[in-house]
Amino acid sequence: MRSKPVQLAIAVVLLVGVGVLVAVFTLALALLGEPGDNVTVLTVGKIVIALFALLTLITTLGISLVWLERKQLGRMQGRVGPTRVGPFGLLQVVADGIKLLMKEDVSPGSSSKAIFYVAPLLVFVPSFVVWLTIPLSEDLVVRSLDLGVFFFIAVSVLSIVGLILAGWSSNSKYAILGGFRSAAQLVSYEIPLILGVLSVVMVADSMRFTDVVAAQATVPYIALLPLAFAVFFISGLAEVGRTPFDIYFAESEVVGGPFVEYSGAHWAIFFLAEYVNTFVVAALGALLFLGGWVWPFGEVGQVPAVAVFLGKTYFLAVVIFWVRATLPRLRIDQLMNVGWRLLIPLGFASVILIAVQRFYGWPTWTLTVMSLAALVLAAWVQLRLQRRDAVATAQRYAQRAVTVQPSRRRPTPESQQA
């Protein structure tokens, strides 16, 4: 254990480091220039530098989530989480990363080497590319596309290819099972995810992230569209494979799924991609439903705006980890049931509700009411079908238990004397 001053000093250094990262990111945006610029060596150089800055930022955000998850899970389980490396174990993830990079990179002898080594990149690149349209604040965005939301969805789906290829090329049974699982799961859950996002787009009337955020200046969409948020959040969990939907790399069943044969740096890339994806889903939730950087203060300066946005994002990430600390994982058929029989109908219900409200021009609060009603209905059905039965069974067991009375009496002192 280091002394307090040293810990504080390292914490300050880390904070400054994050600040520098954001500054470098901003600088990179300035360097990137406009797409119409003439391509010269200088612009290419600038773009390369900018991409590196972007990559650094995203990596840092990703590994910050690793730390957050470990720490939070630890505390929720009565443990302390990482404490050894750096203050509060902040540098633990860096140490892990270095360890992973230095490990021997083993691949199965019968694997398809080319695909095997390309697959991690195919998983990581989409989660990197989606950052092109995700704004950290009003101006802090690489390209604020008109179809930003669409671009995000279109690109993020690509990572499935990487997962399937990883599973396929490993030539391992667990990996192929995990690959199939991931294909089934991710493709299925794209639909409710899109439906949830579509609800927001319908209300905001734009696919540009900054417009969506601006439209939430007074009321965040989570208050307006709780149903859409629930659908989006649950399918978002499934999209990034967080518990209870982590079935494609379930340790206790398929031992890591597509990643089972990977080691060293390649595994580290998968790992990083997983957390960057988690961050992306949390950021998307913050942008689409929690009002991004505008709410609760309205429009503020550049730096507080980033802080507000990151705060909301980390809050959602904490909720994701909280769910992980609590729930077991579903089975593949149950996962499909939840996706196709519950989330997609609910997603369509949300879309239809919004369409009706828009068509007839009802006041916006009716959206909240209708959304909540649909949510309550779904919850009621679940309670009725599943929980009531289980609780009744448990009560019956408690009553049915065979009571055993003492068959012999202990000899009391009186009886012994008698």
């Binding site: 254990m1 630890g74 009565g78 443990r79 909280w322 769910v323 600390a325 609590t326 729930l327 919850a379």
Partner: protein, 191 residues
Amino acid sequence: MIGTIKGLLTTARWLLKRPVTAHYPEQHLPVQQRYMGFPALLMDDTADEPFCTGCMVCVRECPTQCMSAQMHDNPKFADGSSHRRKIINEFEINLNRCILCGICVDVCAFDAIEMSYEHELASYARTGSRADLTLLLDLGRRYMDMSGWSPENPEKNVAEVALAKRAAAAAAKAASAGDAAATDDPTEDGE
């Protein structure tokens, strides 16, 4: 739904509680008084020699045969500073094989061996877990200091008491003008 919410609240409650983790190398959990660590040999300070006479009972009774012992004639018996005719010469415990069952302590008639509080004897060499007489006596010394150990049958085993008793008996015999016969001796021949 309700079950999940209850679960979420249960896990959230622990965010506010203190973790139960012990930071191991800095913080050692207190060892309970009866803790059975690796066996150690104890020293009879009054004669400056181990209690152990090498009678081999523990060696025979050990379920894993992790011990070996060798006795020799006690030079101190000759000069009268000890009542032990035989004394341990070499004693070795293979701590890799020891299963900490405590049977050796149960069978020892001389209070010579005790389960000490030692449980952190990791070493880098494979032979590092072979504890010889010196190490065992060191461990025993540490155990005696930590636990305030005193022998169960001092009149039988502690040299000072036994010698005093013998002297007293001899004096009594001398007083009654009888021939001083050999007093009963607790040691027995091993092997």
